[in-house]
Symmetry: C2
Subunit: 311 residues, 2 copies
């Protein structure tokens, strides 16, 4: 079957499996069961940052560095897709052509459309597919702008937050909550004016954070991904964090937390689908009309809706 072909390294089988994950296909439970034994093989690295900080260039160079070490690498580029049109934009799919002919690299854009439980459920499932296909490292690239994307990044073993000088990024990072999830800060485009100030801002924020003895202190690394500079430093910071995770039993803890979030997201997706199934009936439209005209309040309406689910 498909999972066996993916195990054997057939890239079309891998692509097809991720499509199933992405579309929330009803065969997913069987696929998930077949993939379960391969859980935990890959190191999962999240990359996030605002648009324009150089995420894809950095990912591209990291892939190159990991390949040079002999790793099989998977890349999931998460697209905060439209709730209306769906599908990933073409640019993401074609941008990393450097690796297009390398059989040791799987690159995939994902949108969250249609998946029960959204990105939080679809991403770990896609990671499982890539683990099943023998990837040693899976890079999960997200745009660090919305809460869902931040949550996805936080599902990684190690999370890189990319910043660039002069974008007011430090403040944006605080605002979007990506500061708290960073294990490694990468100040990319480090040849630009303001790089020192950005590094200083970040180090200042790290210094302000309270952490107990033995807790991880986020690293700050400079890079110029467009010139392939600083990539080894990023890789070294990832390795250092990985060692720390293992030494402190934190890898296991993070992975259990990731599994818990995944289970919850799937369960919630199932419930969401059950509620959605009421949308086609007369119950929800009738209640909505009453709420719109002020005859019923929305909490009472929600309670009535739930009573229809028998829950």
């Amino acid at each position: 079957m498909l999972v066996e072909r993916a195990r054997a390294g057939d890239p079309r089988a891998v692509a097809r499996l991720i499509t199933l994950v992405e579309s929330g296909d009803e065969v997913l439970p069987q696929v998930a069961a077949a993939l379960a034994p391969y859980a935990g093989h890959a190191q999962v690295v999240g990359l996030t940052g605002s648009p324009g900080v150089g995420k894809s260039t950095t990912t591209n160079e990291l892939v190159r560095a990991l390949r040079a070490r002999g790793h099989r690498v998977g890349v999931l580029a998460i697209d905060p897709s439209s709730p209306f049109t769906g599908g990933a934009i073409l640019g993401d799919r074609v941008r990393m052509q450097d690796h297009a002919t390398d059989p040791g690299v799987y690159i995939r854009s994902m949108s969250s459309r249609g998946h029960l439980g959204g990105l939080s459920a679809a991403t770990p499932q896609a990671v499982r597919v890539l683990e099943g296909a023998g990837c040693d490292v899976v890079l999960v690239e997200t745009v660090g702008v919305g809460q869902a994307e931040v949550e996805v990044a936080s599902l990684a073993d190690t999370t890189l937050v990319l910043l660039a000088p002069g974008m007011g990024d430090a403040i944006q990072a605080v605002k979007a909550g990506i500061l708290e999830i960073a294990d490694v800060f990468v100040v990319n485009k480090a040849d630009r004016d303001g790089a020192d100030a950005t590094v200083r801002d970040i180090q200042g924020m790290i210094a302000l954070g309270e952490r107990g003895p033995g807790e991880w202190r986020p690293q700050v690394v400079r890079s110029i991904a467009a010139r392939a500079e600083g990539i080894d430093d990023i890789a070294a910071a990832i390795d250092k964090h990985r060692d720390w995770l293992e030494r402190h039993g934190e890898l296991r803890r993070r992975r259990e937390a990731r599994a818990a979030a995944e289970i919850e997201a799937i369960a919630l997706g199932v419930l969401r689908a059950r509620i959605g199934s009421l949308r086609d009936g007369t119950q929800l439209p009738t209640l909505a009309a009453k709420v719109a005209e002020g005859a019923v309040d929305p909490y009472a309406a929600a309670e009535e809706l739930l009573s229809q689910l028998g829950s």
Copy 2:
């Protein structure tokens, strides 16, 4: 009680009610019941756009224009807050000091933290509070970057999408799905280089959209909010869209859709809380450990979790 004081125009009562909404307080169902009769009084206008396009300046000027017409105005500035730290950043709260002493204006930053059902449930509830307090217009400002924020904007009667020249905004707008929700495009900072090109891009995209006879064709307006230019054009476009909504029975349809989304979000929030209550027990951690080590797949685990809910 609180709702009556808010009805009488007491700003502290309004603030307190929105805090209740924001925190997902357990008295919300009673508050909602007391507010239900005032549903539908206010015109709800959504404003969205990437960081840096001038959303707060534009909102500020729109408030001024609406006040000049004698309207009572509410502003909800939705903060895509951290899932980790919560709370709105100070800047949002202090930025619109121009109107701080005007009793006809309520301004409030909201974060989504903790609310059952998230922004999609909290925002309509906060709109209800402002309606209850006698606002004729409620402006809902969101950062158009994540799916949740886009969904919130789509809950308005009329949605403005703000763009600025030279930010690659047209492409970002397509990507984030904010194109589909726009009733009015505002090209702000229209004195900058590239404004004509941005207007042309947007008009090109509008021309490509298929729409039947009588369907609304999104308007494109130029503004320089920092110099208060073009604000009347924005207000005129909003009025035009409002007329169209009423003439085509679309206002009622949109509001029923908004109520349906609100009911669903509340219902889902209740279910989410029930699942979350299992987090403290032994069931979810046990399942998560099994999934992390590959003994169980996450779908089977989710099924087992749901069976604990009796649903």
